[in-house]
């Protein structure tokens, strides 16, 4: 679960967040990132609450157990939002690669490849995705300090001064889009219950809460740390004003990494590893979207819709492809755009789950599982 959460955030946060946050907070962007991490830690308490209210179930399934009239619309909203998010992620991949090296490749190519990968991964199941996510997370963890070390000759911590010259308001304003990225961890609520803990029954509520919250904190720690490092390094290398000028500062940083005369201009190589993380994020989002749409249509198994969703995804991505400047403006308000979906809806659903917790529907009235053995979930 840690790997899934990490990739959900880092896939986009490290690419887009530094630039946007620096635009607001200039050299105090790192403070904004820290703040965003704290907000996430606060908002992340919703996830253990879900564990308490509906152990062993994801958000939508828990809701579905109790109601239909609420579960379906909520699932529909989540489904649309997740597809939208996934379209943004494919957009990000295409922007990155087009800006970095492959200028003439059309966005359609990237969209279709990412979509195929995500659909195949969703079909393979959450287990498979989480295994690949763990592998890729290990790569990321190795890569980030490496990135810092390779760029050490360019880093001047003087660029962080003057600290808080313009006060706290820009920092708070800057933490909004960052929080919007970080809050994507809360989307894991849709599958949160699948993280089984055999010993849960023996603990009291407080212990279960902390058990679940520990996982959230681990995710928060990792993502905040890595985002902090990336943002800090980018500012320290270029200075806040330059960062504000750049479209994708992280990419620019990768472009200036050099190991002497021999190895330089390595951004395609470093993007190679970074893209894995974004792929995994797209896969996770696709799986979540499949889950949401499965609940919308009353299916028990999420995998059947994975290939079907490929169509709307590609369509959505193609129609949403914005020019990067427009996209930047969109990202600037991302904290506000994503807040209702990620936090509010989650809180409201949790409230209803808690409210209706006596009302679990009997199994017979639930739709039967699809018969094919492949669709039966494997342990």
């Amino acid at each position: 679960m840690w790997a899934l959460g990490t990739h959900l955030v880092l896939g986009t946060a490290t690419i887009y967040a530094p630039g946007i946050v620096t635009q607001f907070a200039q050299q105090d962007a790192w403070l904004a990132v820290l703040l965003a991490g704290m907000f996430l830690a606060a908002g992340g308490t919703l996830l253990p609450l879900l564990t308490l209210a509906a152990p062993g179930k994801g958000l939508l399934r828990a809701l579905e157990e109790r109601t239909t009239w609420l579960a379906r619309p909520v699932a529909l909203v989540y489904g649309l939002f997740l597809l939208h998010l996934e379209a943004l992620v494919t957009d990000e991949v295409s922007t990155l690669w087009q800006q970095a090296t492959m200028a003439q490749t059309p966005a359609t190519f990237f969209i279709v490849t990412v979509g195929l990968l995500a659909a195949g991964a969703a079909r393979a199941g959450l287990e498979t995705i989480s295994r690949v996510a763990t592998l890729v997370a290990a790569t990321l963890i190795v890569l980030t300090p490496l990135m810092v070390i390779l760029g050490l000759n360019m880093i001047h911590f003087d660029e962080f001064r003057p600290v808080l010259a313009t006060g706290w308001e820009p920092v708070l304003a800057a933490s909004q889009p960052a929080t919007g990225f970080f809050n994507e961890v809360l989307l894991l609520a849709l599958i949160w219950g699948n993280m089984g803990d055999v010993r849960a029954a023996s603990r009291n509520r407080g212990q279960r809460f902390w058990q679940a919250y520990r996982n959230v904190l681990l995710i928060v720690l990792t993502t905040t740390l890595i985002s902090l490092v990336v943002t800090g390094v980018v500012i320290a290398a270029f200075g806040p004003r330059e960062v504000t000028r750049m479209l994708i500062p992280t990419l620019e940083y990768l472009r200036v990494i050099r190991l002497g005369e021999f190895l330089q201009r390595l951004e395609s190589g470093t993007l190679f590893f970074w893209t894995w993380s974004i792929f995994v994020k797209a896969a996770i989002l696709h799986f979540l979207a499949c889950e949401a749409w499965a609940v919308t249509f009353g299916l028990r198994d999420a995998k059947v819709v994975s290939l079907t969703l490929l169509g709307p995804l590609v369509f959505l991505a193609l129609s949403l492809t914005r020019d990067p400047v427009h996209f930047q403006n969109y990202i600037m308000v991302w904290g506000f755009v994503s807040f209702p979906f990620e936090v509010l809806l989650l809180a409201v659903s949790l409230f209803f789950i808690w409210l209706l917790q006596g009302r679990v529907r009997p199994p017979e009235s639930r739709p039967a599982p699809s018969d094919h053995p492949r669709k039966v979930a494997r342990p």
């Binding site: 190519f109 490849t113 003057p162 010259a165 200075g239 000028r245 094919h372």
Partner: protein, 490 residues
């Protein structure tokens, strides 16, 4: 999706193959849009930008490497007459169009990824570099690590130099820049650093200057700028050295047929305000400026010892100097000089290699609003040449030597600061330091900063921490001091 019991679904088996099938289709129908074969590309290693013949036009010169002859398979293709690299120019209203024209002229796509060096003519720089820099920062082939240089004269001339020890002028320039510390008379500035300096508040950018100089001339370069008695010409901004009687080299004439070999020299810095060239730093000014910005990295320094510090023990007769070029040094002459020693250089000179990191610049703001800066530079020196046979084991002598070195450094820094004041620029970054430590004060003064800087007192403190004499402590002189046993080791 219900199925009848007992009905094995064959569709799902195919369905799961759909993804690989789609993937293969994708592969087959993909257009390889960015596929670029190496022989389809013209490798441009250096780029020069001049003013075009029409107003608002640019003339772009590219130095292209001839991969076929230089690196091709061994065989009859290689020939001595085909040049290893050649130069192509094109004129257009914008840089992009000029680049496209180059592609048309070369027949291959102009590829700038290895273009390490971008030379901007002085005239272009005077008009403002911002449009160029904008072009370079948007295009993905140009990188922050590429080096900018300002050319005195035409940039295309710089790129057209041949016959140097390096085959490609761009490599020559790159290496010269990398070893800028060896001369102490310039520094390397990359595009990224230039942009950063431009955008930093309280700092004005500088760029190194490159010019073409003939190698077999009497001009020994700018090293001797401070020592007129050696016959060097004094520093002059923006006048390319033209040795007399030498026909100007045409860009396409082979080096062997007449003409003088010329090479490139990277010395001096060009000062910018915002993005416009306002003047040059030469000679000692550059030295001092580089010292303030970067410190010293194996930089040479030659110091003349003032006369009252000449130690009493050593006397060597000065050569007879022509009148009017007398040095300010007075010597105690001692007879018994060996015949033929009149050509000896005057006593009291030493050369050292300096090492120092960038100086600490501390802005001091008094509560009443007064502002002063303190510059602290800590230097380590290694002596390389000492003319005069000083006894460095003598603490007094040693301290005097140290003092003289410090004074010389301080003098040069002062010269640099004077020049900054004259040009009304702040390339060192005093304003930046002020901004970083006292942002409120900075916001008050930033409007008139360079003028204000000119009138702000700056304390320069140079501390020579260690003086390394090298492997010997003196020159043994037969019949002089040094052979009388313990005299040398007093």
């Amino acid at each position: 999706m219900r199925r009848k019991p007992g009905q094995e679904s064959r569709r799902v088996g195919l369905f799961s193959l759909l993804i690989p099938i789609l993937g293969l289709l994708l592969l087959a129908t993909a257009g390889c849009w960015d596929h670029l074969e190496m022989p389809d590309v013209a490798w441009i290693l250096g780029m020069g930008i001049d003013l075009g013949s029409k107003p608002g036009w640019y003339r772009v010169t590219a130095m292209v490497i001839n991969t076929r002859t230089t690196f091709g398979p061994v065989g009859p293709q290689g020939s001595a007459t085909e040049p290893a690299n050649f130069v192509v120019s094109a004129e257009a209203p914008s840089l992009l169009e000029a680049s496209r024209l180059l592609t048309a002229r070369l027949g291959r796509r102009a590829y700038y990824v290895f273009a390490d060096v971008i030379i901007i003519a002085g005239d272009v720089a005077k008009q403002g570099i911002a449009p160029l820099e904008d072009f370079f920062s948007r295009d993905r082939q140009f990188r922050r690590a590429q080096r900018f240089l300002v050319a005195k004269g035409l940039a295309s001339d710089i790129l057209d130099v041949r016959g140097t020890v390096e085959e490609r002028p761009s490599i020559l320039i790159t290496k010269a820049l990398d070893h800028a510390g060896q001369t102490g008379l310039s520094e390397m500035v990359t595009k990224g650093q230039f942009e950063q300096m431009m955008s930093n508040p309280g700092q004005d950018p500088v760029l190194p200057v490159v010019e073409r100089v003939p190698t077999e001339s009497q001009n020994v370069g700018r090293f001797s700028a401070t020592l007129p008695e050696l016959g060097g010409t004094p520093a002059e901004p923006s006048s390319p050295p033209e040795p007399e009687g030498v026909p100007p080299e045409s860009p396409s004439s082979p080096i062997m047929e007449g003409g003088v070999r010329s090479t490139l020299q990277v010395t001096g810095l060009a000062a910018f305000r915002n993005d416009e060239l306002v003047g040059f730093f030469d000679g000692d000014e550059t030295y001092g400026l580089v010292a303030l910005r970067r410190g010293f990295n194996n930089t040479p320094l030659t110091v003349t010892l003032p006369p009252d510090q000449t130690p009493p023990l050593v006397r060597i007769a000065p050569p007879s100097l022509p009148p009017g070029k007398g040095s300010s040094t007075q010597y105690h002459s001692v007879p018994a000089t060996p015949p033929g020693s009149s050509t000896r250089p005057p006593a009291g000179r030493l050369s050292a290699l300096l090492f120092a990191s960038a100086p600490q610049i501390q802005p001091l703001v008094t509560p009443s609003g007064g502002l002063r800066f303190r510059v602290i530079l800590q230097v380590n020196a290694t002596l390389t040449e000492v003319w005069g046979g000083y006894d460095l084991l003598n603490t007094e002598v040693l301290n005097k030597v140290k003092r003289s070195i410090e004074q010389e450094i301080r003098r040069r820094i002062q010269v640099a600061l004077d020049r900054c004041a004259k040009l009304q620029v702040d390339p060192v970054g005093f304003g930046l330091k002020l901004y970083r430590s006292h942002p409120q004060r900075w916001s008050e003064v930033q409007q008139h900063w360079p003028q204000l800087l000119a009138s702000t007192p700056i304390d320069i403190r140079v501390e020579l921490r260690t003086l390394n004499p090298g492997l010997s402590v003196g020159v043994p002189m037969h019949g002089r001091r040094g052979t009388e046993g313990s005299n040398l080791r007093r």
